[in-house]
C-alpha cells in the first residue's frame, strides 16, 4: 500500500516535471536560418535574422502552364534606414528552379536567370543628390531604395517550381554595417496536373476528414457492439440469435439498458466532438494558418459546441441518471419507461439531422448560441435549418426526460425515504431536471420561430420587418444559462457521493448541500443577462444581473467548502474515482474563480469574446462536468457491469488527462488577457499599437495544440479500460467501495426489475444523512396533497 502510494507520487511528479519542462521549450522555438551562404545582396552584412520576414505575393496555389504571373517581393523587419532617408533600404535575390523571370521596371534586373534589385549608386560625390540630376538629367531609379519589388514570372509547361528568395534589410547608410540583416525563404508551387504523371496531392477538405473520421468511429462502434454480442453468446454468432439480441436493445424500456444506450451515444459523440476540437486546434496551432477556411472554421466550432453540450454531456448525464436514479431511490424502474425510451431515441435521430449539414459541407455556422439575425439570414449555411430541426427534437427529448425524472423522484422513493434522506446525486438530478424542464420550453419556442423563419418565411427575427435579435438572445439565454448548470449540477452530485464514500464518512453538511444546489437552481433563472452585457441590453437589467451573478459564488462556495470538510476528518482512499473527484475540485474551483471576473461589467466588457471566456467555460465544462462523469464512470462501472476496472490504467488516464487538460486551457487565460479573440478562424502576430499581439502567443498556441492531442488520446485509455474490464475484469462484489445508498444493496449488475415492485426496499438509514423527521412545512404540504386510499367515486 505504502509502496503503491510512493510509486504513484513518483509517476505524478515525473509527468508533472515533463510537462513543466516542455512549456518553456515550446516558448522559445527558434526559426532562424542556419548554413545559408546566398545573401541576395553581396555588399551587406552576414547576419541571418528571423526578424526580417521575406514574402512573395501573387503566386497561385498551383500554376497554369506558360502563364505570366506578376509577383510582389517584399520584406518586413530589420533596420529601417537612417531617419527619414529612403535611400539604400534593402535588396533581394530571387532564384527559381524553372520558368522565366522578367523585370517589370527599372528597380529590378535579371542576372544569370536570377532576379535581383537594380542597385545603382549614382551619387559618387556623396552629396545626397544623384549625379544625373546634378548633370541636369532625369533621376535614375535605384532598386535598393525600396523594400518591395515587382517581377514577372512566366511559368513552365509542367512540373513544379521552387522559388528561393533572399532579402537584405540595411540601415540606409550605404555601407555594410553590423546591424544590417538578411533572411531567406523557399516556396514550392505545384504545376498543372496534366495526366497521371503530373498529378500532385491535393490538400484535404477538412469536412471530408471529419466525415471520414465519423464514419470510421461509427464503424469501430459497430465492431465493438458486434464483439460484445460475440462475447455474450460465442456459440450463437449468427443472425438468428443476433436479431432478437439487437431488437431487445432497440426496443428495451428498461432503465438500465436505456442508460447504457445513452452512454454509448454520449461517448461516441464525445469522440466526434473531440475530433472537431482537434481540427480546430490544428487550425489555430500557427499564426495565419489556412488548414480551415473561415467558413469551415465557423461550421466546426458551431458543431463542436453543439455536439459537446447536447450530444455528449447531456446523454452522459442522462445515462448516469437512468442507471442510478431508480437504484438510488429504491424504485423498480422510472415512472414512464416507454417515454424514457422515447427520450433516448429522439437523440440519435436529432443527431443525424444536426450532422446532415456536415455531410454536404454546409454545416450550421451560427455558433452553438445561434445568434439572430444571422441564424435566419440567407447567408448562413443551409445546414442551419436542419441543425435547428435537430435541436427541436432534442428539446422534445429533454422535456420528456424532465417529466420522467421529476415524476420518478417525486413519486417513487422507497418508503421512509423523505426528501432529506435522498442521496445527493438524486437531489442533483432532481434540481438539474427541474431547471432544464422550466427553461427549455423558452428555447424550444425560439427554435420553432427560427425554423419557421427559415422555412415558411415568418418574420420573427427579420430585422427589416421589425424583428428583434435581442429577443432571441433572451429566449436562448433564459434557457442557456440554466443549461450550463444542468450539466454541472449532476457532477456536484457525483462528487458528493464519491468523496463521501472515499473519505469513508457521510458528506459534511448534507442539508446545506441540498439548499446550496436548490439555491443554484433558483439563481440560475435570474442571472442569464450576464451573457448579454455587451449586446445593448437595458442598463438596469445589466446591473441587476451583475449582482445576481455574483450571488452564484455563494452556494457554489458552500459546496466546495463542504467537500473539503468532508475530506478533512475523513480518511481518504485514493481510488481512480477519488482522483478524478479531487481533480474536479481543483479545476472546477479554478473555473469558478475565473468565472467571477465576468459578472463585473467592466471586466466583462474587456474580456468578452476572448480566449479567457473559452478557458473559463472549458474549465467548468470539461474540468467540472466531464471530470465528474469520469469519476462517476470509475465509481459506478463495477455496479453497472459487475466487473472491477483496472486501477493502474485508471491512474494513467487520470494523470495524462488531468495534466494535458490543464495544458490546454490554462494558457488560454493568458491568451485571452493578451487579446486573442475567440470565434476567429486565425490569428496573426502583430506589433500594431492597438492590437498588440506578442510573439509568445505562437509558442503557447502550439503548446495548446500539442496538449489537445494528448488529452484526446489519453481518453482512449478509458475506452481501452472499459473494453478490457468487460472482457477480463475481476468480478465485482455488490458494494466494492463501501457506499451506503440503495444501489449498493442490490447485486452487481443489478437484476431486472431493479427492485421488487411489490416489495420495495425500506430506508433503514441507508445513507445516514440526518434523522428522518419531516419538517412541519412538509407535513402540512403532504396533508394538503394526500389522496384517499380507497377508490371512491368522483360524482359526489
Amino acid at each position: 500500500m505504502k509502496q503503491n502510494t510512493l510509486l504513484r507520487t513518483l509517476v505524478l511528479l515525473t509527468v508533472l516535471g515533463l510537462a513543466l519542462s516542455m512549456a518553456p521549450q515550446a516558448d522559445s522555438l527558434p526559426n532562424g536560418i542556419i548554413g545559408q551562404s546566398e545573401k541576395g545582396c553581396t555588399c551587406h552584412g552576414a547576419i541571418p535574422d528571423s526578424g526580417v520576414t521575406p514574402s512573395i505575393e501573387g503566386l497561385p496555389a498551383t500554376f497554369n502552364a506558360s502563364t505570366t504571373y506578376t509577383l510582389t517581393i517584399s520584406f518586413t523587419g530589420g533596420p529601417s534606414g537612417q531617419s527619414g532617408d529612403p535611400h539604400n533600404l534593402g535588396g533581394f535575390n530571387l532564384a527559381v528552379s524553372s520558368g522565366i523571370l522578367e523585370a517589370v521596371d527599372d528597380t529590378v534586373k535579371i542576372d544569370a536567370d536570377q532576379a535581383t534589385h537594380n542597385g545603382i549608386d549614382d551619387d559618387l560625390d556623396g552629396n545626397g543628390i544623384q549625379d544625373a540630376i546634378e548633370a541636369g538629367g532625369a533621376a535614375i531609379v535605384s532598386g535598393n531604395d525600396y523594400t518591395s519589388w515587382l517581377v514577372n514570372w512566366t511559368s513552365p509547361s509542367s512540373g513544379s517550381s521552387t522559388f528561393t528568395l533572399a532579402v537584405n534589410s540595411v540601415n540606409g547608410d550605404g555601407q555594410a554595417s553590423a546591424d544590417d540583416a538578411w533572411n531567406l525563404m523557399a516556396i514550392t508551387v505545384a504545376g498543372p496536373s496534366t495526366g497521371a504523371a503530373a498529378e500532385e496531392l491535393q490538400s484535404a477538405d477538412p469536412f471530408v476528414v471529419l466525415v471520414t473520421l465519423i464514419i470510421v468511429s461509427a464503424f469501430l462502434l459497430a465492431t465493438v457492439i458486434l464483439y460484445t454480442f460475440y462475447r455474450v453468446s460465442p456459440d450463437g454468432f449468427n443472425w438468428e440469435s443476433f436479431a432478437p439480441w439487437i431488437i431487445e436493445w432497440l426496443t428495451s424500456t428498461d432503465h438500465k439498458k436505456v442508460g447504457t444506450l445513452y452512454f454509448l451515444a454520449g461517448f461516441f459523440f464525445l469522440g466526434v466532438g473531440g475530433i472537431m476540437a482537434l481540427l480546430i486546434r490544428i487550425q489555430l496551432a500557427v499564426p495565419g494558418n489556412d488548414f480551415l477556411t473561415q467558413d469551415q472554421y465557423n461550421a466546426f466550432f458551431t458543431m463542436h459546441g453543439t455536439t459537446m453540450i447536447f450530444l455528449a454531456a447531456m446523454p452522459l448525464i442522462n445515462g448516469l441518471a437512468n442507471w442510478l436514479i431508480p437504484l438510488q431511490i429504491g424504485a423498480h424502474d422510472l415512472a414512464l419507461p416507454r417515454i424514457n425510451a422515447m427520450s433516448f431515441w429522439l437523440q440519435p435521430f436529432a443527431a443525424i439531422l444536426i450532422f446532415t449539414g456536415v455531410f454536404s459541407g454546409q454545416a450550421a455556422d451560427v455558433g452553438w448560441t445561434g445568434y439572430a439575425p444571422y441564424i435566419v439570414s440567407e447567408t448562413a449555411h443551409t445546414g442551419t435549418t436542419l441543425w435547428v430541426a435537430g435541436q427541436i427534437m432534442l428539446v422534445a427529448s429533454s422535456t420528456l426526460t424532465g417529466i420522467n425524472f421529476l415524476a420518478t423522484i417525486c413519486g417513487m422513493r422507497a418508503p421512509g425515504m423523505g426528501w432529506m434522506q435522498m442521496p445527493l446525486f438524486t437531489w442533483s438530478i432532481f434540481i438539474a431536471n427541474l431547471m432544464l424542464f422550466l427553461s427549455i420550453p423558452a428555447w424550444g419556442v425560439g427554435l420553432i420561430q427560427v425554423y419557421l423563419d427559415r422555412t415558411i418565411g415568418t418574420a420573427f427575427y427579420h430585422v427589416a420587418s421589425g424583428g428583434d435579435p435581442l429577443l432571441w438572445s433572451h429566449l436562448f439565454w433564459y434557457f442557456g444559462h440554466p443549461e450550463v448548470y444542468v450539466v454541472i449540477v449532476p457532477a456536484f452530485g457525483v462528487i458528493s457521493e464519491v468523496l463521501a464514500t472515499s473519505a469513508r464518512r457521510s458528506v459534511f453538511g448534507y442539508r446545506s448541500m441540498v439548499y446550496a444546489m436548490a439555491g443554484i437552481g433558483v439563481v440560475a433563472f435570474i442571472v442569464y443577462g450576464h451573457h448579454m452585457f455587451t449586446s445593448g441590453m437595458s442598463p438596469t437589467l445589466r446591473f441587476v444581473t451583475m449582482l445576481t451573478t455574483m450571488l452564484v459564488a455563494v452556494p457554489t462556495g458552500i459546496k466546495i467548502f463542504n467537500w473539503l470538510k468532508t475530506m478533512h476528518k475523513g480518511s481518504l482512499v485514493y481510488r481512480t474515482h477519488t482522483l478524478w473527484a479531487l481533480g474536479f475540485l481543483v479545476t472546477f474551483t479554478l473555473g469558478g474563480i475565473s468565472g467571477m471576473f465576468f459578472p463585473s461589467l467592466a471586466m466583462d466588457t474587456h474580456l468578452h469574446e476572448t480566449y479567457f471566456v473559452v478557458a473559463h467555460f472549458h474549465y467548468v465544462f470539461v474540468g467540472g462536468t466531464v471530470f465528474g462523469v469520469f469519476s462517476a464512470v470509475y465509481y459506478w462501472f463495477p455496479k453497472m457491469s459487475g466487473r472491477m476496472m483496472d486501477e493502474k490504467w485508471g491512474l494513467l488516464h487520470f494523470l495524462t488527462g488531468f495534466i494535458s487538460f490543464n495544458g490546454i486551457f490554462w494558457p488560454m487565460h493568458k491568451l485571452g488577457v493578451l487579446g486573442m479573440a475567440r470565434r476567429h478562424h486565425t490569428w496573426f502576430i502583430t506589433t500594431d499599437d492597438y492590437a498588440n499581439i506578442p510573439a509568445e502567443m505562437a509558442s503557447w498556441n502550439l503548446f495548446i495544440t500539442a496538449c489537445a492531442f494528448l488529452f484526446f488520446f489519453s481518453n482512449f485509455i478509458l475506452v481501452g479500460n472499459i473494453i478490457k474490464t468487460i472482457v477480463s475484469g475481476k468480478k465485482a462484489p455488490a458494494d466494492p467501495w463501501g457506499g451506503w445508498s440503495f444501489e449498493w444493496m442490490c447485486s452487481s449488475p443489478p437484476p431486472t426489475p431493479s427492485f421488487d415492485p411489490h416489495n420495495p426496499p425500506v430506508l433503514r438509514d441507508a445513507n445516514e444523512h440526518i434523522a428522518s423527521e419531516p419538517s412541519r412545512l412538509a407535513k402540512w404540504f403532504e396533508g394538503l396533497m394526500m389522496a384517499e386510499e380507497d377508490d371512491s367515486e368522483v360524482s359526489h
Binding site: L353, T385, M412, P415, A442, L452
Partner: protein
C-alpha cells in the same frame, strides 16, 4: 457486458409490437419510440426541403413530409396497440411525499402541463415584446409619417381586422364556445365511465348485464362529441385563416354588401405581407369615416403638407406572432384530436370502466389546459 442482466425475470416476453398484457406491468419492449423518433426526423427533414426562406423550393419533398407523418402514425399505432388493453390493473401510485397514493400518471401529467405553461409563456413574451415594442399601424397612419408607395414597418394586431366586423369574429367566437363545451363533454365522459356498475344501472334503470354495453356507447358518445367539437374548432380556424365563408343573402347587406366572409389570407393578412393595404389605412375611405381631428395626419392634410392616399405596411412580425401563437394552440388541439380518436375507438369497444376511467381524467387535464390557453389567446389575439 449484458450477459448477466440482459433479460427480465418475467416468464412472459411480450412482443414489442403489442398487444400487451398489463397484468404483468408496463411493457418492457416497444418499437414505438424508435419508429416515432424516425418519423419526426423525417418530417422535419422533408419540411425543411419543401419550404426555404418563405418560398416553395421543392414540392417533391412533400413526399418526405408525408412519409414522416405516415411513420409517426405507424409508431402511434404500435403505442396504442400496447395501450389498448390497459384496463387499470396496472396503475402505479406514488409512494413518496408529497404525492403519496396519487397515480404516477397524474403526477406526470401535471408536471407536463408545467412545461406547456412555459411554452405559451414564451409565445406571449414574444407577442408582448413586439406588440409594445413596435409602433402600432393605426398610430403610424394617424401620425402621418408615411408616404403612399413606400412600406412602413409597424405592428398590425390581427384583432384590428378581426374585431372590426362581427363576421370576421364569428369563427373565433364559435370556437371559444366549442372548446368550452368540449371541456364539459370530456367531464361527462369521465363521470359516465367512473360510475360504479350498480349506480349506473340504478340511474338509467337498466339491468346489470346491459350496463357495460350501455356505458361503452355513452362514453364513446361523449368522447366522440369532444372529438367533433375539436374538429369543428380546427375547421373554423381553416375557414378563418384560408378559406373564407359565403354569407347567405339576407346577411350580405349586414356584411357591407360582401357576399362572403373574407379569410385573413384574402384580406392580405399573411406572414409575407410586406406591403399590406387595408381600407382603414386609406385616406379616401376616411372621407366617409372621419379621420380624428386631433390627429397629426388630419392637421397635415388640412395644411396641405400631406397628400393622403393609401398607407402600405410591413406587418410580417405582427402576422407571424398571430399565426404562430394561435397555430401552436391549434397544434395542441390537433394532438388532442389524435388522442381523442384513439380514446373514442377504445371507448366504443368497451375499453373504459370504473377501474381505468382515470385515463379520461388525465387526458381531460390536458384538454382543460388547451381550453384555458384559448381563453387567454382569444382576448389577446382576437379582441384586443
Amino acid at each position: 457486458m449484458s450477459a448477466d442482466y440482459g433479460h427480465d425475470n418475467h416468464d412472459h416476453h411480450a412482443s414489442p409490437w403489442g398487444p400487451h398484457d398489463w397484468s404483468h406491468g408496463a411493457p418492457h419492449n416497444s418499437f414505438a419510440p424508435l419508429i416515432m423518433s424516425a418519423g419526426f426526423a423525417m418530417f422535419l427533414y422533408g419540411f425543411a426541403h419543401v419550404f426555404i426562406g418563405g418560398d416553395v423550393a421543392d414540392l417533391g419533398a412533400l413526399s418526405g413530409v408525408m412519409l414522416g407523418l405516415i411513420i409517426i402514425t405507424m409508431g402511434l399505432l404500435v403505442w396504442w396497440r400496447q395501450d389498448m388493453s390497459a384496463d387499470g390493473v396496472y396503475e402505479p401510485k406514488a409512494t413518496g411525499a408529497p404525492f403519496r397514493n396519487i397515480d404516477i400518471r397524474k403526477v406526470s401529467m401535471w408536471i407536463f402541463l408545467m412545461s406547456e405553461m412555459m411554452v405559451f409563456t414564451s409565445l406571449f413574451s414574444t407577442y408582448i415584446r413586439y406588440r409594445l415594442g413596435i409602433q402600432n399601424c393605426g398610430d403610424v397612419f394617424l401620425s402621418g409619417e408615411w408616404v403612399e408607395g413606400t412600406s412602413v414597418v409597424c405592428f398590425e394586431p390581427a384583432a384590428h381586422l378581426i374585431a372590426s366586423s362581427w363576421f370576421h369574429l364569428a369563427p373565433g367566437a364559435v370556437n371559444t364556445f366549442a372548446l368550452i363545451i368540449s371541456s364539459f363533454t370530456i367531464v361527462l365522459a369521465l363521470k359516465t365511465a367512473k360510475m360504479s356498475d350498480k349506480k349506473y344501472a340504478d340511474k338509467y334503470e337498466i339491468d346489470m348485464e346491459s350496463v357495460q354495453k350501455h356505458r361503452s356507447r355513452k362514453v364513446a358518445m361523449f368522447l366522440g362529441s369532444t372529438l367533433f367539437l375539436a374538429t369543428l374548432f380546427l375547421t373554423l380556424k381553416m375557414i378563418e385563416w384560408f378559406i373564407g365563408f359565403p354569407t347567405p343573402g339576407p346577411l350580405t347587406d349586414l356584411n357591407h354588401g360582401h357576399s362572403e366572409i373574407a379569410s385573413l389570407y384574402t384580406e392580405g393578412y399573411t406572414i409575407h405581407a410586406n406591403s399590406y393595404q387595408h381600407y382603414a389605412y386609406d385616406t379616401s375611405y376616411h372621407d366617409g369615416h372621419e379621420i380624428p381631428h386631433d390627429s397629426a395626419l388630419y392637421s397635415m392634410m388640412q395644411a396641405g403638407t400631406h397628400p393622403g392616399g393609401v398607407m402600405m405596411a410591413d406587418i410580417r412580425v405582427g402576422a407571424s406572432t398571430f399565426f404562430v401563437t394561435t397555430g401552436t394552440h391549434g397544434v395542441h388541439v390537433l394532438a388532442g384530436m389524435i388522442g381523442l380518436s384513439y380514446m373514442t375507438f377504445k371507448g366504443l369497444r368497451g375499453g373504459y370502466g370504473p377501474s381505468n376511467a382515470v385515463s379520461i381524467e388525465y387526458f381531460g387535464l390536458y384538454w382543460h389546459f388547451v381550453d384555458l390557453v384559448w381563453v387567454l389567446v382569444f382576448p389577446f389575439f382576437y379582441l384586443f
